[in-house]
Amino acid sequence: MSSVAMQQKNKIHPHKFTLWVGIGSIIMMFAGLTSAYIVKRNQANWVTYELPVAFYYSTLVIIISSLTLHLSAKSFKERAMATYRKLMAITLLLGIVFIVLQVIGFNQFWNEGMTLQKSVSYSFLYVIVGLHALHVVGGVIALLIMSLGAFSSKTRNYSMVPVELMCTYWHFVDILWVYLLVFLIMIK
């Protein structure tokens, strides 16, 4: 291996780095939305509200899913492929449950008369939570692809990179959700 390639070894993998920069840009989008929320809150016609209960359950679910994914990656590293497969599938399942719970939460909210158009406060909740859910859907699709790969008998792939990318992104949407939840509880 030439020295150029050797030097390359010590650097962070380009795909991982790209993901980190991408995460920075997603953070900026939510920073834009939450600061718009704060600006709007200080103006007239702001209505306070209680978050639907389903959002608290979904928080629990996504935190557990982060844990299972972490353990899944750990087993992958130890080449415990059966455990890796199982945990990956559980994470996928939990991801889907999270989405379902968010939809249930939206329904609860809507049925209590807090519809999208009624007040800007409610509109903000739908947009912010909805956009986060879309990012989770992206993660669920990635989890699905990973799980299919894990269970396929043809695939023999021992590269850590895809698993690590998956972990980084999933932990990110998890932390982002916790941040948004705390934000929505504290500032309403």
Binding site: M1, S2, S3, V4, A5, Q7, Q8, K11, I12, P14, H15, F17, T18, V21, G22, G24, S25, I26, M28, M29, F30, A31, G32, L33, A36, V39, K40, Q43, A44, N45, W46, L116, Q117, S119, V120, S123, F124, V127, L131, G149, T155, R156, N157, S159, V161, P162
Partner: protein, 600 residues
Amino acid sequence: MSTTTLQETAHHTSHGEAHGEQHHHETFITKYVFSQDHKTIAKQFLVTGIIWAIIGGLFSVIFRLQLADPTATYPWLEDLLGHWAQGGKLQPEFYYALVTMHGTILVFFVLTAGLSGTFANFLIPLQIGARDMASPMLNMLSYWFFFLASIIMMSSLFVQTGPASGGWTIYPPLSALGDASAGSKIGMDLWLVSMAMFIVSSLLGGLNYITTILNMRTKGMSMTRMPLTIWALFFTAVLGVLSFPVLLSGAILLLFDRNLGTSFYLSDIVVAGKILPNEGGSAILFQHLFWFLGHPEVYIILLPAMGMSSEILSINSRKPIFGYMAMVGSLFAITILAFLVWAHHMFVTGLNPFLGSVFVLLTLLIAVPSAIKVFNWLTTLWRGNIRFTPAMMFAIGFVSLFISGGLTGIFLGNSALDIHLHDTYFVIAHFHIVMGVASFFGMFAGVYHWYPKMFGRYLNNTLAYIHFWVTIIGAYLIFWPMHYEGLAGMPRRYYDFSNWESFKNFGGLNQFISMIALLVFAVQLLFVFNFFYSIWKGRKVTNQNPWNANTLEWTTPIRPGHGNWPGDIPEVHRWPYDYSKDGKDFIAQDVPVGADESKH
């Protein structure tokens, strides 16, 4: 073996290991259409940008016809525009559409995608010594999202109610209510969808540029040995990646207001005698979100031009760039300040005057790094052995325009003066010179300088000099008088000034400006002709390093293949500005440092 592992292998072999060019089976489609070669993608961005520049430029010529003589009719205009120019007279609605599209096209499609898209793609791998971008696939997608955005924006020109016409800043409520104007209908929807695609494109591009610069530099290419072009493109990408998502969030809220009946930006509105139910929104909120992108966007446009001009000025003065670290530092300072000055676009929105004064201070602080850059460009030229190549002419022109336009920025940055100058032709003059024309000059400088590398041929020099002189004199003749119009209070975006006693005396001046605008536009067509003619018929490049430059792109073959270097990637031993050192005219970056060599 999964695709990921394949990519892994490809990734590793692409760094050294004497593999040379990546030979893969290429058809016409994979080579010229869905190419993953950064050089081809750069050319795709450039050609698409040129097509948009012609359209956007033509729009300005058409609305300048209206401003030149509001009473005149042009029968050919009706043939061209149909019911938008009934009886040969431009309709007011379409005048606004033209102004809006001129801004949108030039700011986003030409000077963002056309400029960064072209030169970031072309120069980053070549100048840092990489075989391609970190992710050629994302890079290709970046172009095709831009292409899709282009098609959608183009199609909005052909809908019955016309394209978006609320100004390129698409302020609500005009942009949020379909009934507000003809241009607020489907044209506005297409504008938003197109911009969403555009944002995706620029994010994919930006992610790639940053990753490539930080991760894929060849051996010896430390950050402080990078050419200033790369530094500028790096900061440009950082600005884009951090500011475009905020525009996206603003646009999403706007989409909700338009289509789902929410009231983020709307409150107490009456349209055509009908009271709307929307309550509690704030139109100013949109301006905050928009200008949080909008101001960094100015630097997204300007920084690449700065970087390329620095490089070209040094090469053609045969002198090292003056104050390399100061240049990098001032680029960094501009990047940080770019995020902290957005409210200077909003001094007259009822902004708290104390807050206004904070933004005045931060805005005027930009003068410091800008002045450092100008000083360094001038000292680079000072007593240089200057070669007046067309690229050099445009780079010098860039510095001239940046000074002239930058000075009026100090006027506008004052919130007290801005009350008078806001929304007048003074603003038009300021931003066209400092950001529009100056960036175009940077872009032209780049095209003239790197054309031999792109196509293996030279552009015609005689046409290039005609292009330069007419454009620089023309640009000043067009925009300089606008300062006087603006100081006299002439507002921007008006369709017809002849109804105001106070602006009537500018009729002659307006006519003059329009005539020059027509001439300058014609000369740009000469450049376009030169560009396409020379691809096939230009003088062939026979020298690997035609400008005697130090950077790595000139160590590749005259027509580099995919992978850029046939053998190993050269190792870098020095910074790129060793010109006229130790009695040598130039020492390329891949030449090892001699034992008795002096420090730079």
